[in-house]
């Protein structure tokens, strides 16, 4: 296989180049920044010294083989890491310039601003489709002055699900297909209007059609929010992201090997390990 991926018509670099745009056009605040983030599970050092700046309005893909610390890293970004009893961390995560781990921070308000979509679709089983979308408002006790029906339609439209469910908003969410359920979960996280959306392998359990629809959704959303997506699918990273970060655990703790604009990461990565990974020779 040639190392010059850009010469191949359907190469990842080609996909990434076609996708590339100038990010950060919308005034979204100053985004999210990780500074020297380490993570531990008990005495196991899972992640070492990751510093990564997520500019407002960009999509950043985190790629790397299983066990390299991508998911651990994304969970430190909205303080979900601390739910594991033995977990510890070091470093700072700045949202609009303020450390979300600073003493006296209201962690529920942080998670309200940094939403999350999980690997497995997890709509609330006791709620209808409509109730699921608006669940965040109820859970966070937000009194929205907006019309509920308008908000419902807007969130479902942004998540690319409105056309499919508009006639059955009162049905239970369990009756939807996996892809629809995942888009419902995206709609649910949009209703509270987060600044950042973290997605931990959101398409790994979905068919290609549903995956494409969610990728469309991500492209639409990136105009108004900052998105971080963990993915094992490098085509997906190339299609949806502005920046790509490559993680690797080489025997020791997971580290970020390299980060750069997605088209460069797939066409001329600086690190040999990145090149081996994106060209499919390893991992």
């Amino acid at each position: 296989m040639s190392t010059d991926n850009s010469s191949q018509p359907n190469s990842l670099a080609g996909v990434a180049a076609a996708r590339h745009r100038e990010p950060g056009s919308a005034p979204l605040g100053s985004g999210l920044e990780a500074r020297g983030v380490h993570a531990w599970f008990g005495s196991h050092h899972a992640l070492e010294g990751v510093s990564l700046d997520f500019a407002a309005g960009t999509v950043t893909a985190l790629i790397g083989p299983s066990g390299c610390g991508k998911s651990t890293f994304i969970r430190t970004l909205n303080r979900m890491h601390e739910f594991i009893p033995s977990a510890a961390m070091a470093g700072e995560v700045l949202l609009d310039g303020k450390d979300i781990y600073a003493p006296g921070t209201d962690v529920t308000k942080i998670r309200l601003q940094i939403g999350m979509v999980f690997q497995k679709p997890n709509p609330f089983p006791s709620m209808t489709i409509g109730e699921n979308v608006l669940a965040g408002l109820k859970l966070a006790q937000i009194k929205s002055d907006r019309n509920k029906d308008e908000l419902l339609e807007e969130c479902l439209t942004r998540a690319g699900l409105w056309q499919e469910v508009k006639d059955r908003l009162g049905a239970h969410a369990g009756g939807l297909s996996g892809g629809q359920q995942q888009r419902l979960c995206i709609a649910r996280s949009l209703a509270v209007n987060p600044k950042v959306l973290l997605m931990d392998e959101p398409c790994s359990a979905l068919d290609p059609g549903s995956t494409l629809r969610i990728e469309d959704t991500i492209s639409q959303l990136s105009k108004t929010m900052t998105i971080v997506i963990v993915t094992h699918n490098m085509q997906q990273a190339a299609r949806v992201s502005d920046y790509t970060a490559f993680f690797l655990a080489d025997g020791g703790p997971g580290q970020m090997v390299e980060v750069g604009p997605t088209n460069e990461m797939f066409s001329r990565p600086k690190d040999e390990r990145t090149e081996n990974y994106v060209s499919g020779r390893f991992g």
């Binding site: 977990a87 510890a88 070091a90 781990y101 006296g104 209201d106 529920t108």
Partner: protein, 355 residues
């Protein structure tokens, strides 16, 4: 020693910024101290008196101050969250106070009578007025262990098979059996004793013995173990059963080698709950146990003793020494049951670790 060049890294230590720091805890404890003082003052100047008033007011003031602290720091949502936490803690404390009080009374009153003699002597040469070191519980300990062992040996296979019928085979009679199991769990324990008495002892020449009492106890144990085993087996993911069946296994092999081992810890809990149900039962023993004041190693004939029966007779005796015997008997029963549970847990978890 040669000097090697090791790339220098600044050492980073793991931290838990989400845990409350000392600076966070000082106002919390200060608020609790103020709540305690206020509590004391209110009880002193108002007609409300007694331990209950102290406890109640402390919860109210304590929860109130914590709420106010959270409200000031993080707002209303955090204050409500803190209140819910306080209510949960209060509930746990309220539920545990009677348990701890019971335990304390039993240990304080029961420990007085414990001596080596109490553990190694039976009651064959002593009566309830003898000193506790001359007539003891050894025959009752043996009797209780026998009863627990035999009742478990009878009810565990029956319960496990019933639970497997209900969860794995899901036969046509499932609904009816489920109903029966639920109805059985409501049987008053004395009825189980009377049932064995009238069905087996009155109509035949058999006399009260360990096996008869164990049968009565098994009637009480079966519904508890069945219900719990059933819940535990239902928790085993259907994927595991399918994975076994998809490898070409028969249903019997799948259940025996995959489902039951996966539920092992829960099944041990089921047995422990069943033993807890019967270990302290006295009423079923009255009609079925016969009586013995010395060790009877033969479970099939002759009367037997048991710790709850010993306690009951001590109380019935009514004298000071009889009641002392009862307290010490309760403490010995607690120790026996707790050691059985501990053994079951150690035995159960060790097997899992070996895998």
């Amino acid at each position: 020693m040669t000097t090697t060049t090791i790339p220098h890294h600044e050492t980073v230590y793991p931290k838990r910024p989400w845990k409350a720091t000392k600076a966070d805890l000082i106002p919390v404890f200060a608020a609790l101290a103020v709540a305690a003082l206020l509590d004391y003052a209110v009880v002193a100047i108002t007609p409300m008196k007694g331990k209950l008033a102290y406890a109640l007011l402390f919860f109210v003031f304590g929860a109130g101050f914590q709420m106010a602290l959270k409200w000031k720091k993080l707002g209303r949502r955090a204050a409500v969250d803190s209140l819910a936490g306080s209510v949960a803690i209060s509930g746990a404390v309220i539920a545990f106070v009677p348990v701890l009080s019971l335990l304390e009374t039993t240990i304080v009153k029961g420990a007085k009578g414990l001596s080596l003699g109490f553990f190694i002597h039976d009651m064959s040469v002593a009566n309830y007025q003898s000193p506790l070191s001359e007539g003891g519980v050894v025959q009752a300990i043996v009797g209780t262990l026998y009863l627990i062992l035999i009742a478990t040996a009878i009810s565990l296979p029956l319960s496990l098979l019933t639970a497997l019928y209900l969860t794995e085979i899901k036969g046509k009679a499932s609904g009816f059996i489920q109903f029966l199991v639920q109805a059985m769990s409501g049987i008053p324990s004395v009825v189980a004793g009377i049932f064995i008495y009238s069905a087996l002892l009155l109509t035949t020449s058999l006399r009260g013995s360990t096996i008869m009492a164990a049968l009565a106890l098994a009637i009480l144990m079966i519904p508890t173990v069945t219900r719990t085993a059933q819940e535990v087996l239902l928790l085993v993911p259907a994927d595991l059963r399918e994975a076994g069946l998809a490898l070409g296994a028969t249903q019997w092999k799948t259940v025996a080698t995959i489902v039951v081992p996966a539920a092992r810890n829960g099944l041990i809990t089921a047995v422990i709950l069943g033993v807890a149900r019967i270990a302290g039962e006295t009423a079923p023993l009255l009609f079925t146990l016969g009586v013995s004041n010395k060790i009877n190693w033969n479970p099939f004939s002759g009367g037997q003793s048991a710790l709850p029966y010993y306690v009951w007779s001590g109380l019935g005796d009514g004298t000071e020494l009889g009641i002392d015997r009862a307290w010490s008997g309760i403490l010995v029963l607690l120790i026996v049951v707790l050691s059985l549970f501990a053994t079951a847990r150690i035995f159960g978890t060790r097997k899992v670790k070996i895998k």
